[in-house]
């Protein structure tokens, strides 16, 4: 199992990642979600052993494979492969690129050729094998980079926004190929994404990062705010874009607000209730990550996501564009 323990990572004195523990068990499919700058890419680079943590350590099983004092060895890195958000291809053909890692592992000739051909077929890039990097679109480069990573059959595959340049169909094809690979070989996949829908659809385990820390709640409805000074525990009205969210907290200064989607009441019209937060807006989309569960995304000035049952969605006759009211208590809002 690949694991980060007590890692604090800083760039020029600024802490960008602060994780007590982050484990990638064998065969897991983990989605890391969070805003831009939340630390997703840094986390993946540390897990990929291409950067060493400022403090703490990265372990593979019981062995420390990376720490401020331990330089990662190539043998450890060969078990983990990272595909960056904007991957680069080496000079040469797509075929040579996919074969790069195989060559390092001493696999050449017909054996390497057959592996390259099989991976290319799974990712639908057989027609690109003899092209060079300047002849490919961004989406094709991404698929080639994933193929190059899969060709070396890693134990852990790390993907940073793997479908950021892909259209919907290409994204489906890529996720489908990854799921198949996982079924066939049992590799662990850890992907960073800001697309919550994709995360819910493809991952078994969703972890949210905010300001370099793991969020204690689900990844929806996270807002970076500045809490006004106060006198102990009290209800504060905190501006989030054009709306003000009431929150009961004793904290002040920079913080993350989290509104748990299951704590939001959804109605067609405003209800008279004890909820201090009542916002009206329009449904922007409906998602069904699991049978019987509906994610309702609404624009109430900012985008909020509520989780309701299929039955409730049917009774409310919700559809994209329909008016909706979201309500939640000030005490339901988490601050960290």
């Amino acid at each position: 199992m690949l694991e980060l323990a007590g890692v604090r990572h800083a760039y020029e004195g600024r802490v960008v990642l602060d994780l007590e523990r982050f484990a990638v068990p064998p065969g897991a499919l983990i989605a890391i979600v969070g805003h831009n700058g939340s630390g997703k890419s840094t986390l993946l680079r540390l897990l990929a052993l291409v950067e060493r943590p400022s403090t703490g350590e990265i372990r593979w099983g019981d062995a420390v494979v990376s720490s401020p004092r331990v330089r990662p060895r190539a043998a450890a890195r060969r078990r983990i492969t990272l595909v960056e958000q904007r991957p680069v291809l080496f000079r040469g053909t797509v075929r040579a690129n996919i074969g790069f890692g195989l060559k390092i592992r001493g696999r050449r000739g017909i054996e390497a050729e057959s592996i390259v051909a099989a991976v290319a077929e799974r990712l639908g890039i057989t027609g690109l094998l003899d092209r060079r990097r300047h002849e490919l679109s961004d989406g094709e480069v991404q698929r080639v980079a994933v193929a190059r990573a899969l060709a070396v059959a890693p134990d852990v595959l790390l993907l940073d926004e793997p479908v950021s340049s892909a259209d919907r169909a290409a994204a489906q094809a890529l996720y489908g190929a990854l799921a198949e690979e996982r079924r066939a070989r049992g590799l662990a996949i850890c992907l960073a994404s800001h697309q919550l829908e994709d995360a819910y659809r493809w991952a078994d385990d969703i972890r949210a990062l905010a300001e370099g820390r793991l969020s204690p709640v689900t990844p929806e409805n996270l807002f970076r705010v500045e809490l006004p000074p106060g006198q102990g525990e009290e209800t504060k009205h905190v501006r989030v874009g054009p709306i003000a969210i009431a929150v009961t907290t004793g904290r002040e200064g920079p913080a993350i607000l989290a509104v748990p989607p299951t704590d939001i009441f959804v109605s067609k019209e405003p209800l008279v209730s004890s909820a201090r937060n009542v916002f009206t807006g329009q449904v922007t989309r409906l998602g069904r990550p699991r049978p019987g569960v509906v994610h309702v995304a609404a624009d109430v000035g900012v985008e909020l996501i509520a989780v309701i049952t299929e039955e409730a969605a049917r009774d409310l006759a919700l559809a994209p564009g329909s008016p909706v009211t979201f309500a939640f208590k000030a005490s339901a809002v988490r601050v960290f």
């Binding site: 190539a74 492969t81 990272l82 680069v88 790069f100 060079r132 300047h134």
Partner: protein, 231 residues
């Protein structure tokens, strides 16, 4: 103006008649230049790689030293080397003063900072994702360096050209530690300086033309290489 035309005619005659002295000097120059360039690049380019790609204590100071050494006056290098190689110097026992090996050492000292500083700049210019990608695909130090070098191949070829250019055009150190001895340590640049001073303008011009052709050949070779390269 007449002496210019006369000088040019003599130069063409000396080159076309394969004058043994002219070609002897040219061959020695090529030998010294190639050996010095190979040694300077073999030492300087790995140092440039390390300076550009590793973070370690003193790295910035090392880069400053290398960059400063780029502007080191050739006669000062010649003077210091003379002090080392002269009979009373610490390396006097080698007996290399006034030999072509002494010129090679002087040229290496001058071309080494060029190879190191320009290689560091070339490697720093490569997208850092190339190194990370190679590493994450399991490449060790050498394979990663090779992947980076392939990306920086044009800039690195220019490094070799610049080092060769420094070596082939150098005159100060070669004059001091080589002694400009006919048939032994007389290179194109030292010979041009000598024959111009002696008033043998035709011979100086012939040697100068050969020097220009050598520089041209190296640069054309680089351009051909760049023309062949594609992504």
């Amino acid at each position: 103006m007449d002496f210019l035309g006369e000088g040019l005619r003599r130069a063409v005659h000396l080159i076309s008649s394969a004058d043994p002295e002219v070609y002897g000097i040219a061959l020695l120059t090529v030998k010294v230049a190639v050996v010095a360039t190979v040694i300077a690049c073999a030492l300087g380019m790995p140092l440039g790689f390390v300076l550009a790609s590793r973070r370690f204590w003193g790295r910035r100071a090392a880069l400053t030293v290398v960059n400063t050494a780029l502007a080191f006056p050739t006669v000062v290098v010649g003077l210091l080397l003379y002090a080392l190689l002269s009979r009373r110097g610490p390396l006097g026992g080698l007996g290399w003063l006034y030999t072509w090996q002494a010129i090679v050492i002087g040229d290496v000292l001058l071309a080494f900072p060029i190879a190191a500083a320009l290689s560091a700049a070339a490697v720093q210019g490569v997208d850092p994702r190339i190194r990370r990608t190679a590493e994450t695909l399991g490449a060790g130090t050498w394979r990663t360096a090779w992947a980076v070098a392939r990306e920086a191949r044009f800039a690195l070829a220019a490094v070799i050209t610049a080092a060769f250019g420094q070596v082939v055009a150098e005159v100060g150190a070669a004059m001091i530690v080589g002694g400009n001895i006919r048939g032994a340590t007389r290179t194109l640049t030292t010979a041009v300086a000598l024959y111009t001073a002696q008033g043998d303008f035709g011979l100086a011009l012939a040697l100068g033309l050969i020097l220009l052709v050598m520089a041209l050949v190296v640069n054309v070779a680089l351009q051909v290489l760049q023309g062949r390269g594609n992504a």
